[in-house]
Amino acid sequence: MIEIGLELPLARFSLRVDARLGDGITAIMGPSGSGKTSLLEAVAGLRPRTRGRIVLNGTTLLDATAGVRLRPEHRRVGYVPQDAGLFPHLTALDNVRFGARGATDRVRAAVETLELTPLLARHPATLSGGEKQRVALARSLASDPRLLLLDEPLAALDVGLRERIVPYLLRIHDEWRVPVLYVTHGVGEALTLAESVLLLREGAVEAHGPALDLLSRPALSRAAEAGIENLLTAQVVAHDEEGGTSRVVLDDGTSLSVPRLSGRQAGDAVSLAIRAEDIVVATEPVHGLSARNVIEVRISAIDRVGHDALLYCVRTAGGRPWLVRITPSAVASLGLVSGQAVWLAIKSHSFRVL
């Protein structure tokens, strides 16, 4: 639990944030210049003019009225800035070791989680943007943080999937159990990763709550127009060499056929992405379709996103909702309503492996 009640004067406005954040992943969203990075820096202790209170799981990091102002080196808050902020004079390995105080176990585990082994001898100047972010994340983890602050610029850009930090973030969340504040522009990430979304506007909290509840907010729906992705974590079940596919199973038991996952073995965890607009909706069970996946779901809500309609679909077994984006005319002609059972058809090749 992170209790934040802070105020920080910025150039154009004051950042004022009052919020209680959970121990999972909190997405921080909002337009550029709304104070997202300043919030992270204030929590890390890098903004001396911050007033108010920050309490992290019972440890007071800041209590201006009581005169408590923990120095950044005593906060144990890991910070990964937009440009990763690696030390250019050190190799990737020495960067990861930097704050570990000789805890080789933690260094090794961080290197493993972020899959850095092939990069360890390299200097930051020779790494790609995504690789830098991974090294910086490992560097934070190795320093044994009580909270991770992650400012991710790549989610907003059209970068290759390999550059994305998302699958690693899932692993960190599952294996390291560190609460994360995560600045992102990706609505799909907010929907699937984040326990809640803190929406900032001009330094103030415009809204705070589960991403699904905030999707109709202009700031989120504008971001959503750029594309919404369903992000899934699954386990590899088997490979079908001749069929060119692999079979995976989601946490809720849904079995999916995806493109052949080379280099993964049965039992391995895998992260998948599927764009909301790549899912086809049918009002009856479908047969004779080339799409290898047909999933029965129930529509729990229908929203507008830009000019499109967004369906929230849940399986009877529960689990994360599937987001499906179709045209309003499709909604009208199929007569789709909330509560209705529908079938989602997805081609194997529409899934992308992260």
């Binding site: 950044p72 144990r76 930097f98």
Partner: protein, 226 residues
């Protein structure tokens, strides 16, 4: 080739230059760091004052030092009561080289520190470094090029100091005579051959100093190739 007395002059000059550079290193780095980080009022005045010895005739700097250190001068009076003699001793030579070399060190080191992204220092702090540890693990390694260049320039300047030295230390063979002063004296008494030899030695020393620094910089640069 060099007489015993001349060798002693070379040794004296090298010792003074090395000691003077060593003594200004820490204060020079601190001042450079302060100037690089300080953003408040008076910054440009402070910088101008520090740069003055670079452009003033060294004899003028020597004159200022002399009036400060003279028996009736503000510092001299105090020194005399403490029983410390500076003017016309080797200490005056040392002082003159330190004062003249200091701005060169600060200037170059400051540029080095200004090139270090202050956010990296903040990040080092979040990773558990106190201010001092952050300085030695991040700031200094990233600014070392400027610091080294400043140190080398300061040493080379100290080797060749003439004007301020002659004002406050005189030109006393065996006591305060450095290479630059010895060249001057040899030429004054018509020993142009000795003056040429000593000038040659000076050129050689300066060349070796700068060249060593150059080689060192290159080797380090290759190791952290970008």
């Amino acid at each position: 080739m060099l007489t015993g007395a001349e060798l002693a002059v070379v040794g004296f000059t090298l010792r003074i230059a090395a000691l003077g550079t060593a003594l200004i290193l820490v204060p020079g780095i601190l001042v450079a760091l302060a100037l690089a980080r300080y953003r408040g009022p008076g910054k440009s005045i402070l910088e101008t004052i520090l740069a003055l010895p670079l452009v003033l005739p060294p004899t003028a700097v020597g004159m200022v030092l002399l009036s400060l250190l003279a028996r009736r001068g503000p510092v001299g009076r105090w020194l005399e009561s403490a029983g410390i003699e500076i003017v016309f001793t080797w200490k005056a030579v040392l002082l003159a080289t330190m004062v003249m070399a200091f701005p060169l060190l600060v200037r170059s080191a400051r540029t080095g520190f200004e090139e270090v992204d202050p956010r990296l220092i903040g990040l080092a702090r979040t990773l558990g470094c106190g201010p001092l540890a952050a300085f030695f693990r991040v700031t200094l390694p990233l600014a070392w090029r400027g610091v080294l260049a400043g140190t080398v320039l300061a040493f080379a300047r100290a080797l060749g100091e003439f004007g301020a030295t002659i004002m406050i230390a005189g030109n006393i063979p065996g006591r305060t005579q450095t290479l630059a002063l010895a060249i001057f004296q040899a030429s004054q008494v018509g020993r142009d051959d000795r003056a040429q030899v000593l000038a040659g030695v000076t050129v050689l020393l300066a060349f070796v100093t700068l060249w060593t620094a150059e080689l060192f910089t290159r080797r380090r640069a290759r190791r952290t190739a970008t």
